[in-house]
Symmetry: C2
Subunit: 959 residues, 2 copies
């Protein structure tokens, strides 16, 4: 989600230096100034990031020393004195009284703005000169201020805490000159690498000083920032210097005032004002402005010592702009904001270039080609980043896993007409071609669930009516390509504007359920193939019967007597029978006899174990990312490679036990899986000629399916929250898919469309994030590295993997079924629909604070969920009956159901629970999205929540 | 954890009514007034709970109506207007500006304190009279104020939102008299049941009113609280009435002022002041006092619209008392507080009565008996509460589960010398006796891990040296009882003061590891007993060989030809062999031949599945408690009965598949499991007489073990955080255990000591909690229903369960092993030691904000953990070698290691990581627990955290 004009700002103003006169914009931009939410405080022109350090005077009266006890950039880090470590960054909380005390101390104190001091000594002399102290006290004070403070520098894995004790207190004055030079330890401070270039420091010195009769406050802004020797833990130039000393006061008053000063300085608006301030009044006005905006927590309800972890998103500074500005900008309070935001999704931004009908034949395609051609060279140059290498490896592994699993399922579904080899070959060829030609090269083509379902239906149909499958399928493919070209020509892709979240979720839930159902069904079929032997079951006993002595006696008498089984047979007194297992028995010319010969014990249960292990292991590894254990790099690797690792574990377990579990069948040679067929499918085969015409009917259905599957995925991938710069290419993508379907039909390879999950994973691995400069700051999402090279590399690698066949045959099928279950469950649980289904089971008071629950009555939410459930149920029933072939049309029916919901739900409710369709958006007047109740501003409290820059929630699961 | 004097307060002042003059104590108690943390706002004398409601005027100018948009007791609930529901309770946040605006509005407005109005009409007339408005406006205003507001009353499952539209606006004046009577809907409001008797209401009316020229503020305190008709959503008498109206202002100013007023009134201190206030100045002073204590969040770092969930513990009001009071009370800032608190654990409170050495023989025992005798009748009367019934059921199920599992293990360990029947009988007899006699009747006696380990060692020893086990064991028991009596006589139990958390954790971790190891070991032994048949393994093939035709031909020719197996044999051309499974073969007089006859397929893997299922199911059910799904009652049941449900699931799965998994062996008759032995163990049996003397040696070790096991558990059970009123009885408990060991040795029943986990579960099911009156308030822990009846009932039921044997034999052993694994893992993960072990693997920046990490350097924490790990490793090694018999002495050695740690760690570090031993406490001067750094007050920030009333974290797992 972004604010209007944000994109432009990001692309145009990066690195620009706006003159100082424009600083006001930061504090109160006019209507034309873009508001940037991601490039927060630190990139605001002429406002360098400020590192603030609180040095506290401790040890009064015996052993005075300065100790760094707090530091701030965005959040507060407190020194845990006992543990000698920095606390986790947290939101600073202050007492109002401290701010007020600070205000009066500053009002009476010394304010030097644009002080020309060039070193700590000069600065200290400036401070001392003005103070009305006795010369002796002045000297004491100067010595004290020049004393080297004790920092707590945490090195990687260890900490360096340099003690000022080495410096004799009498020598302090003498040493101070040398100390103006920054120290080695300061340079080695890892914090220094984190701070951006140009960062400035502010130092707050606070503490109790018994020899002072009255409090001493000083606030100094240096004309030019100066490195003040060892005063700060990082050797960066200091801009502000604040001194808060005084006679002992109860309640750590100076410490709290110092914290208040530091928190003030860490505030962007205060910082801006104080950089501009020309006198004490400006400073106090800035403080008062800060006070006007603080949030107050009542004392009895909130423990002031509780540490609040940094929020995921910082509030926007625009909240602090005058409301007039917002009204001018047309964002008129209330739901205006979320509506504005939601418009982005399908409103003014996205549909503009890509989803406007041109009115010419192939007009959309031509425009797509023109638009993408401009980016073509950058599509390769933008890939020159190390991140792309790891993306290639990750997506390559995911792609071959997908190719293997779908290959296995397709081989099953088509009785070997297509298999793993075809799956690999097809994936590589079509994927690479798509990456080179398509409008959205981040898309990864893959076999998808719906197409697999259709292929299975098609094969069953051909088998039942004794048709030659591949030739018939070729004609289906030819027709599909034709229909898709018609869709491209007529710019049908602009209809994706009607795909709201309702459609996406219905589609996604159905696909996920099919995955889950298939995975469980496959496991059950294994249990039937390898039945479990219960006590008393008839399937017990098997032995190996040799041919009668008269027939082939010589063979058995020849056998060496020390052969294990013969010894056994002899021992048992058997002459023409032994207990050889069936395969060995057949090998030796015997006949396995008995009902137990066809059962292999332990396989069913071991398969179940493998299935469950791979499912739970993949799930658990995926969640390792959110664990606190291990460094984040390790966790990321575990999480990213969860399914690959789960497959590996399954293979190891299987190899360890050595049971004859069913394995993935892979061809050992580069030739079609089906014996005897050539790579080119014959146009008619054994079929009659008229079947090539009749194929148009299933092709029509498949075209709808492919259009839905391709375009729903494309809509998801091109969501505005991914901040894509180069735009989408709905028409061009469909055109490519059509051409590739023609190609794969001719070669008898599987059909491919965009696969949501793997494409999202691809995008996820190419995320660009802002560097987090401040401790506790969450990095913000900047966009995706949009290029064609990673996809291309992935598919080239996939192509070469055909020679991996000798390795792949060790993968047990139950492991793959487990991974499928995992993909189905992960995809199902990632959609908002499932959240709402859970709400059905959740007592109202335990429900999370979801935005739509704030705005839509619970009964309406439940009704919406129930309708979705009913649609899903209907789709499932249709899929399971002989009418399954019309399933693609029913998918299209989802859009109709969504349209009909307008009769049941108000546009406001649909806006919260779903999205608006084009007509609905038009039907609502400009201010029509305000709440239906009569009083103003009631919802202003969550408009902010909606503004928060939502990094895309990329769900790596299956479409 | 509690504050000094809290106990006394709880027992003495419950229900008392302190005269109004003592109200000051609430706001600033003198040193003698107890501070109660659990009985917060609502039980403070003469400060009835205040329900505050904000009615907002909406719809200006067309359709003015009052709508309730917020309510407060402790936390804020906001009306979600769009959704028509109340938000979750949250900590209210205010803008400082609203508070300031409110202050100036009140300063200029009407303040009526002790207004004598008796109805809404009178009240409104009072407000109107004083206002300087035109008569016409007055009438308009009066009509408006009497208008019935629209409430949002949420009924159970539905909501009732009554519309004021039915009341014609012209009739308002007329209707108002009738409306003074509370309405049916108000009475049906479920909130009414939640508010305590005597609760009062405060109504804040706020809104924009265009016809007013200037703001109108009024604050009225009624002399006597009056039910103001339909003004409040609950028909309770109102004490305060606040009106904040005025001409339109930007930013929902009146709404925010109204909220500020409501938040002020919800503050205990402000409320107290305003109840006492006699003029405007008092009111403003109270507001200013509130402002001085608010917590301030900086605007740029915290989104003011974010809703903060209610904290688990409210901050104490004593924080707001003057620090002088605290100094008088001897709690001198800093670590004084935690130290004070920690003293409670072993300090002034607990050791006082029970753990002070009297110096006489059996002095402690006598004192225990005297002390407990006083409570004996109340020990039965206090059980008269329905909660006790459910506690009995829960603990009964847990007890028999334990009896079954330990019975099974003991039967294994002693080759049937003791078994499930003995386990049931012994549990019932000793448990009931203990509940009747013991000092701490909440304790549940049970077989425990360490005793089981010892019993196994003893049995192995007897078997290896061909001793008669039960007679030898009888003598061990006699000696143990003697030694324990000596320990009682010499008051050795006072030594438990040396059992710090270090010892408890070492003991607990070892026991947990033994459980885990045993559970896994048992599963592996199953895999050996029922090997998995791999392809090509020699254990293949089995058939049934009949006796040769010459020997017993008649038997086989007699067989009916339609017998399944004979048909098979005939079909296969076999004459004297068939494929009958071994059991049936033997039954028919044949001989099972072949290596496969001894293997039962699928059992090993199915057992593994049952094992994993019961483990994961029990774990998952345990965590259902923290889920949001289902009502909390349902979740509590799932969680409380997790292991019972997991056992049931395992049995159902096992019965469904019908495999011959190993089942729990239970006797079908009431007689000793070992055939031929009588209930009374013969004193010598086959053993020599001198063995009865030699038994003293193992008995010495067992005595140490029993002392450690019994007393560590007793220390855990009698922790101060459980707020036990009737005290412990360490000497008496040990005495009872000694007598019961003698009894069980004579009867050949297992030995019993206190079982931590099940006793803790017992206490957990008897928790007394304060009623949560305010939405969002967490109920606070008041104590435990200390009585003898629940335990007694549990064991009587256990005794009658011996006749459950026919049911118990359906429980598969792998399921019980799974439950054991669960118990071991749960116990292991519940101790702080494991938290620290996890820290070893956690990068510093991801570590949670644990208190000890704030005060002890990480390297020292790791060192402490490493030492504990080393001790644990050593104990494990000893347990696994032939030296295992000295294992009890090594347990005692833990105390020595802990003592030696004083040389390595400072008392401060030990205080944070462990607890202090008696000498250490004494060695530290009164102020010695202050941090070792030099400046004052640095840790004041977490003293509060330590004060939080910690409800006991009861870990239902195994000791």
């Amino acid at each position: 989600m972004k604010l209007p004009g944000q994109e432009e700002f990001e692309t145009s103003s990066a690195g620009e230096n706006v003159p100082a006169g424009e600083l006001d914009n930061v504090l109160g931009p006019g209507p034309d100034v873009p508001l940037d939410t991601d490039s927060r405080d630190m990139v605001v022109p002429n406002n360098p990031m400020l590192f603030i350090q609180l040095n506290e005077l401790v040890g009064w009266p015996q052993a005075l020393e300065w100790r760094e006890t707090g530091r701030w950039v965005l959040f507060e880090e407190k020194l845990e004195v006992g543990a000698g470590r920095w606390s986790a960054p947290h939101v600073p909380t202050l007492a109002l009284a401290s701010l007020q005390k600070l205000r009066s101390l500053l009002a009476e104190g010394l304010i030097l703005l644009d002080c020309p001091a060039q070193s700590l000594l000069e600065l200290v002399e400036q401070v001392i000169r003005v103070e009305s102290l006795s010369p002796e006290l002045k000297e004491q004070l100067q010595a004290l201020l020049l004393q080297r403070p004790q920092h707590n520098i945490q090195m990687r894995g260890t900490k360096l805490c340099w003690d000022s004790c080495f410096v004799e207190s009498t020598d302090i004055r003498k040493d101070s000159h040398d100390e103006d030079a920054p120290l080695k330890e300061q340079h080695r401070n890892p914090l220094r690498q984190k701070l951006p270039p140009g960062a400035e420091a502010a130092v707050v010195l606070a503490g109790e000083l018994g020899f002072l009769a009255r409090p001493l406050g000083a606030f100094i802004r240096l004309q030019n920032p100066v490195v003040l020797g060892p005063l700060t833990e990082v050797p960066i130039p200091s801009r502000f210097f604040c001194l808060l000393l005084g006679p002992p006061m109860p309640g750590r008053a100076y410490h709290e005032m110092g914290r208040a000063m530091a928190v003030l300085l860490s505030d962007l608006q205060f910082q801006g004002s104080v950089r501009q301030a020309s006198n004490l009044q400006d400073l106090l006005a800035a403080l008062d402005a800060f006070l006007q905006k603080v949030t107050v927590l009542p004392p009895g309800r909130w423990d002031p010592t509780a540490r609040i972890p940094p929020p995921k998103c910082l509030p926007f500074q625009h909240k602090r702009l005058s409301s007039q500005v917002w009204e001018v900008r047309g964002i008129s309070g209330l739901r205006g904001a979320p509506a504005e935001d939601r418009h982005h999704h399908r409103g003014p931004h996205m549909p503009n270039p890509e989803l406007q009908r041109t009115g010419w034949l192939f007009g959309g395609l031509v425009q797509d080609v023109r638009r993408k051609a401009l980016w073509y060279s950058s599509d390769f140059l933008d890939a020159l980043h190390p991140q792309c290498l790891s993306a290639v490896l990750y997506i390559y592994l995911a792609t071959i896993t997908n190719a293997i699993t779908f290959g296995g399922l397709l081989g099953d579904a088509t009785e070997g007409a297509q298999g793993v080899l075809e799956s690999f070959l097809g994936t590589a060829v079509t994927g690479a071609a798509f990456c080179l030609m398509a409008g959205q090269p981040l898309t990864i083509l893959s076999s998808t669930g719906p197409v697999l379902v259709f292929e299975r239906l098609l094969f069953t149909f051909c088998r039942d009516y004794h048709l030659d499958y591949l030739p018939f399928r070729l004609w289906v493919g030819i027709w599909v390509a034709t229909f898709c070209l018609v869709l491209v020509a007529t710019e049908a892709s602009v209809l994706v504007r009607y795909f709201t979240r309702f459609t996406e979720e219905g589609f996604c839930a159905l696909i996920s359920l099919i995955f889950i159902y298939d995975a469980l069904g496959k496991m059950l079929s294994l249990a039937r193939a390898y039945p479990i032997q219960r006590p008393g079951s008839p399937a017990y006993g098997c032995f190996c019967q040799y041919p009668g002595p008269g027939e082939n006696v010589s063979q058995w008498t020849r056998t060496k007597p020390n052969d294990r089984d013969d010894i056994l047979s002899m021992d048992l007194g058997l002459v023409n029978a032994s207990l050889l297992p069936p395969p060995e028995c057949t090998q030796k010319g015997g006949y396995p006899r008995g009902p137990g010969c066809h059962t292999v014990p332990d396989i069913a249960l071991f398969s179940l174990l493998l299935f469950l292990t791979s499912f739970f292991f993949a799930t658990a590894l995926k969640h390792v990312k959110n664990s606190r254990l291990f460094p984040s790099m390790v966790r990321k690797v575990f999480s990213d490679f969860s399914s690959v690792l789960a497959i590996l574990l399954g293979c190891v377990l299987d190899a360890f036990l050595g049971l004859a579990t069913p394995k993935l069948l892979v061809p050992t040679e580069f030739k079609p899986t089906l014996p005897g067929r050539s790579w080119l499918v014959s146009p008619f085969g054994a079929n009659s000629w008229w079947l090539s015409v009749a194929a148009a009917l299933p092709a029509l259905l498949l075209s709808i399916l492919i259009f839905m599957d391709q375009q729903i995925t494309a809509v998801i991938l091109n969501r505005t929250e991914y901040k894509l710069q180069k735009g989408a290419g709905f028409h061009l993508d469909l055109f490519c898919v059509a051409v590739l379907i023609l190609l794969t039909s001719v070669l008898g390879l599987p059909w491919y469309v965009s696969a949501t999950v793997i494409s999202l994973a691809h995008m996820d691995s190419l995320r660009r994030e802002s560097r987090a400069y401040a401790p506790g700051e969450a990095p913000s999402f900047l966009g995706i590295r949009e290029q064609r090279l990673t996809g291309l590399m992935v598919f080239i690698l996939t192509g070469t993997s055909i020679f991996l066949a000798p390795v792949l045959k060790f993968i047990p099928m139950p492991v793959l079924y487990g991974i499928f279950l995992y993909m189905g469950v992960a995809a199902l649980s990632s959609i908002q629909f499932m959240k709402r289904v859970k709400l059905l089971l959740m007592p109202a008071k335990h429900q999370p604070d979801l935005l739509f629950l704030r705005h839509v009555p619970l009964s309406r939410v439940h009704l919406f969920t129930a309708i979705q459930l009913a649609c899903l149920g209907l789709l499932w029933i249709i899929k399971s009956t002989p009418a399954a072939i019309i399933f693609p049309i029913m998918l299209l029916g989802l859009v109709g159901v969504r349209k009909a919901l307008e009769w049941v739900f108000s546009p406001q409710e649909l806006l919260w629970l779903d999205e608006l369709m084009p007509e609905e958006e038009r039907s609502i007047p400009e201010k029509g999205l305000e709440p239906d109740h009569s009083f103003n501003g009631s919802d202003s409290e969550d408009s902010q929540l909606m503004y928060q820059p939502k990094a895309p929630e990329i769900n790596i699961s299956v479409n």
